[in-house]
Symmetry: C2
Amino acid sequence: MPRKTDKRIRLIEAAKVLIHQQGFNLTTLADIAQEADVPLGNVYYYFKTKEAIGIAVIEKWASEWTERLAKWEDIADPLARLFVLIRHGLDNLEMVARFGCPIGGLCQELGKQGGPLADLAAKLLHDVLQWTEAQFRALGFEEKAAEYGLTITSTIQGMFLLTHTFKDPKISEKQAKGLEDWLVKMIGRKPEMAAVKVEELAYAD
Amino acid sequence: MPRKTDKRIRLIEAAKVLIHQQGFNLTTLADIAQEADVPLGNVYYYFKTKEAIGIAVIEKWASEWTERLAKWEDIADPLARLFVLIRHGLDNLEMVARFGCPIGGLCQELGKQGGPLADLAAKLLHDVLQWTEAQFRALGFEEKAAEYGLTITSTIQGMFLLTHTFKDPKISEKQAKGLEDWLVKMIGRKPEMAAVKVEELAYAD
DNA sequence: GTCTATATACAGATAGAC
DNA sequence: GTCTATCTGTATATAGAC
């Protein structure tokens, strides 16, 4: 039996996909309504404005990532956690090649416009950045944690942008390998990946 | 005496600025016409469609960068050339913090849409990428030139995205320093910057 | 070449019957 | 809660006088 929030969820999911694929400004409410199989006029019962849908979509990304990052905290080795983050980015490279990084795309597009959407999008990336910093602190880096966290996050975003621009997943594969090598060399050991369970690597749906 | 192409040039310049600041899709022909001080209807005498303006703007960026990269070829030391590229990116950090990297922004936004605009935007980044690869080859790297070129270009794009997202020029400053340190360590020496003339560092207008 | 007026299309948003 | 019909604004693009 469809619950009260059923259509709302379908609308958010449809908007999440379409905004990733087309960008926020090019995605119309009619697009979203059609993809969610909801009549256009009915959309406004669930969301007062287009911006409200944008907010809901970004909050959906935020909750997914909060959950994902929290789950990875179960991994014993902080270095292995960083490896899992990097490898997670390699799971959907075909998507990244076609449409770019969902988070990076939102930050780029909405960052220019300012307002609540820009702030929320920035918070998405900020959460990831903070998490990476925390891993470096757990590895014993106090002073350099912020810099290294920035390097990881920035490198991943850079490789995604080039992967998207040149439609070439190999770019991310090569750059990710380089990033892992950098980590191993800097920490002085390899990650304890044996203890990482498969479920913790799976892409949450 | 205003030449035949005077308005055309004003329109391209206005579009170049506005598209950087607002993105391509959010920039209207009315915006561009007003900024260039040209009546809206007259715009269509110079450009048949909005896409045609987009093409002209990207070609303008392309010619600027072609000239800039060619000028930097005059620098004797290829390592110094790479340093000049990195430091060029630090010249307009307030702009980058507000509106992101012009090239990266175009690649991100237009890459999703496909078509001629996406291809032309990708070529912008491709030209820079190729140039960086050439510098590594000039430094004696044959096999690794492609990988290192990718690393430089990708790192710069990543730091610009985070600088824009968090509105913090310090991010680029710190990451650029890290990139320079990586280069110095890898090449095994510092760049010959003494021979780099001030004019070669100046931002072409 | 220039510019006003306007055609056309479609976006976000609302009214109101059901 | 749902959905059709529609309002209103605005974007791209064109027509045609000057």
